[in-house]
Every structure is written in structure tokens, then in C-alpha cells.
Amino acid sequence: MLSGLSHVALAVWALLIIAPLLWTFLASFKNNTEIFGDPLRLPGELRLDAWGRAWDTAHIGQYMLNTVIVVFFGTAGTMVFGSMAAYVLARFSFAGNRLIYYYFVAGLAFPVFLALGPLFFVVRQVGLLNSHAGLVLVYIAYSLPFTVFFLAAFFRTLPEAVAEAAMIDGASHTRTFVQIMVPMARPGLVSITIFNVLGQWNQYLLPLVLLAGDPDKWVLTQGIARISTLAGYEADWPALFAALSITILPVMVVYIVFQRQIQSGLSSGALK
């Protein structure tokens, strides 16, 4: 009896999650008349034209490509530089080690909004405003505090003996890092990579400020927000829903494939 009630509660919440997404997906096959009709009716036929318009006319394809480029280099850079800094800070003792560690971790305490105005001028100063390179560097910089914090904790837990053996065999520090320590730290690296990919993929505020001047370079989140504004003027609602579906579907596929890693990656990040 109680068990039945439990299922009802769980099913209600699941429905609340699935229904809006399913509705968006179905609405992308409707035409304007159907959209302005009964919102709960299914589309009359499977129309794919809105998907084409979203991809081309509304530039979703371009935004998607931009996002992939920025997130790829942003995450790769974050992982390379973050793991290098974290490794050195976790396993070498030198004057100023603690100081540098806290210098990095201090970045976690500040809201990005505080930096917003000055950041715009800093990026303009170095000539990287409205460029993907600038956005990538900023993503890396803002991802470093948490990445260093998380990975330093992880590197500290790795056993000393293996690295020592490698050093005795004559491996250089760099070689020990690349061939011994990084493979050993793999579980930690996977978690934090997922964390950074998601964070950078979903970033909205930074591109809004740093890419404002060049719509060709916009990322998906910016693009979707603009299509939403435009849909009101151009009255192309099916294209908006198609654009939303195109944005959500790849994330959903990746999520379903990696859901275990993603859930544990994000929640272990929170508990550290």
C-alpha cells in the first residue's frame, strides 16, 4: 500500500520532468496553426522543415560548431594546466607552495559578477574581445580554482612508492607525471573533465559579455536566447522548438550513455 503511494509520488515528479521536454520535441513537428491551437494535441504529420530552418536560417548549426570548438579547447586546456598545477602543488614541497595553493582556491569564494565589468576591459586590452581564443582562455582561467582544488586532493591520495621507483629508474619529473601519475589519477581526471565540459557547455554569462559584438561567433546558449527573442517577431515558433530540440538531444544522448559517471562526477565534486 505504502509502496504504491511511493510510486505515485515518484511517477508524478518523473512526469513533471519528462512532459515539458516531450512537449517541446513534439511541438517542433507542428506548424504555426497547430502551435496556436490546442497545446496538448499531437502534430498532424511528421514535418521536418522547422528543423532545417533552425539549423540554417537560425544558425543553430553554426552555434553548435562554435560551442564544440570552445568547449573542446577550454576543457582540454583546463585539464592540462589544472592537472599540472595541482600535481606540483600536491606532491612537491617548496617555498610558497601553500601560498600558491590558497591563491588558486581563493577564486572559489568570488562570484563571477564581481569581475564582470573589469574582465571585459582586461580581455579587450589583450586584444581578444569577440574571439574564441579569448573565451577559451577565460574559461580555462575560471575553471582552474575548482580543478586545482579537486585534483590536488586527488594527487595527494596516490601512493608515493610508484613515483619513487620511476625516479630511481631515471625517469624525469615530466615523464613521471605523464606516464605514471596521470594514468593513476584517471578516475579523478574523468570526474573533473565531465564537470568542466558541462560547466563550459552551459556557460551563458561569459560569452554574453565577451562575444557580444560578433554574432557569427556566438555559442549555443546565446543563440537559443536570441532565437527565443526573435521567434516573437518572426512568429516562427516551430523553428524555436526545433532549435531547442537540437540543443537538448545531443546532451540527452551523452547523458544517457555516461549517466553514471556524470552523476558521480558532479556530486562528488559537490562533497569535496
Binding site: 509502496s3 515518484l10 515528479w13 518523473a14 520532468i17 512532459a19 521536454l21 512537449w23 517541446t24 511541438a27 502551435i35 497545446p39 496538448l40 594546466f81 599540472m84 598545477a85 600535481y87 606540483v88 602543488l89 612537491f92 617548496f94 600558491i100 591563491y103 588558486f104 577564486g107 568570488f110 562570484p111 559578477f113 564581481l114 569581475a115 564582470l116 565589468g117 573589469p118 576591459f121 582586461v122 580581455v123 577565460v138 582561467a141 575560471y142 582552474l144 580554482p145 557547455w201 556557460q203 551563458y204 554569462l205 549555443l220 546558449t221 537559443i224 536566447a225 532565437i227 527565443s228 515558433w237 531547442l244 540543443t247 537538448i248 547523458y255 556524470i262 556530486s267 559537490a270 562533497l271
Partner: protein
Amino acid sequence: MRRWRTYGFVAAFLAVPLVLYTVFVISPYVQAFQLSLTSWNGYSSVVAYVGLDNFGRLFGDEVFWQALRNHGIMLLTLPVVTIAIALFLAFLLNLGGGPSGDGMRGLWGSRFYRVVFFFPQVLAVAVVGVLFQAIYRPDEVGVINGVLARLGVEPVGWLIEPGLALWSVIAVMVWQGVGFYVVLFSAGMAAIPKDYFEAAALDGAGRVRLFFSITLPLLRDTVQVGWIYLGIAALDGFALIQVLAGDKGEPDGATTILPVTIYNTAFSYQKVGYASAMGVALFFLTVTFAVLTLRTTRRERVEL
């Protein structure tokens, strides 16, 4: 010799991360504190120091107080509602099967539920904003109003009614956030030894009793972490409100929040100095909240 090689290695590995971090993170933060004492407009070559004038002006700024009021409401409701729903769902998922031969069981299908609940968490907030704009549409085209219309209820202006708009926004934050905390709390519940439940169940404790007497006290630390995260989220909300309710926090500033105000003040009105002062205020609010939460909820840890 070997020692110098080590120092060289350390320096080489730290150089790039330190430079990137200093230029793009630390220097803007330092400048923000500096600029909050100026009346700089973003382009003039003269930067005039005005002391604490910006902060004085904040106290007389209606938009600032409006934003604070909205953050206050979000701080009071968002964590409570999200944590309550997440704890309830996590409990049902993990222990809802009731006591059985080998301790407590989860419910049938709990894996499926967990996958579904967590999904909104991986969606970009901007995307969720656009999605709910369509769902909240004020006419019968909106999903909610469409359902209401079938039940014979007049359409509701979810994002248009000043008294309702902020609650509609908070509902979206709850919708997106609950799944994450379900997973977080589930991990915590899985760490509670099974014999605790067995012993209590043998003594005749029902599920409600098990939840309040065993699960909740032992999850205290995890709930505290969740509380702080949600509080910080309540002091942010930029992407969602900017997309959902528009730049000014319509209607009538009913959903005005500090981050959106800062963004507009700096980039639409070119008052970079004043915007920085708001940023500094927001920073101190966030820190105060985190410290207060840690202070007031600190207690002897329950030893397992």
C-alpha cells in the same frame, strides 16, 4: 643539481596556470574593488575616485532594495523547498521498499527515476529558460494554461502578474535542481549502515519514523552542503531570469535580481564604477550567507 632541476620543473608547471589565473581572474577582482570607489563610465581616460559615494547611493537605490528583497525571498524558499522534495524522493528511492529480509530496499525502477530526475541538471540554464518561456505563455498556447483551459480555468499570466512572476521563476529553479540533490542525498543514504534500519525496524519503527529518527540526523552534513549550494544559487539566477523575465526583471521589477542589475548597469548604462560597487555588495552578501549557515548549523557531528 638535482634540486635545481626540481625547482625548474615546478616553475615550468606552474607558470602558465598562474599567469592565466592572475590576468583573467584575480586582476579583474582586484580592479572591481578599486573601481567600486570610482565613477568610471567604461571609456573615459580619467578615473575619478569618489570614495564610498557609490555605496551611499546603493542605500537610496530602489532597484537595489527591490533586488535584495527578491534575493531574500529566494534565499528563504529555494533551499527549503528543493531540499524537502529531494529528501522525500531520495528516501522513497533508497528505502521506500520498506524493511525486508535483508535490510531496507529501494523501490522497483529506482534507477530509471534517478536518471530522469537528474537530467534537467545537465541542461543549460539558458535553454531551460527558453523552454519555460513557452510553457508559461500567458495565453492558452502555453502548456500550463492549455491544461487549465481544459479544466475551464482562465489563463494565468505566470510571468506577467507581479505577485506571481518570482514564484514562477523559483519553481523552475526547483524543477531543475531537485534531481541533483536526490543523487547527492542518495549517496549519503547509501553510506548509512543497514543494521541501523534493521534494528529500528525490529523495534517497530515505521517508515516515517525511520526517516526522521535515523536518515535525517545522519544526513546532516550533506544537507548542510546542499543548503549552501542552493543559497549561492539564490544569490545568482542570472541566466534564468535574464532569459525568462527579460533584462529589467519585468513585470515592474518583480524579478529584479542583483546579477542582472549589475550586468545592465555596467553594459547598458555604462556605469562601471557603480556596477562594481553592486558586485562588491553581492560578494559580501554571499560570504555572509555562507559563514552564517556554517555557524548556525554547526553541531556535534553524529559519529557512525
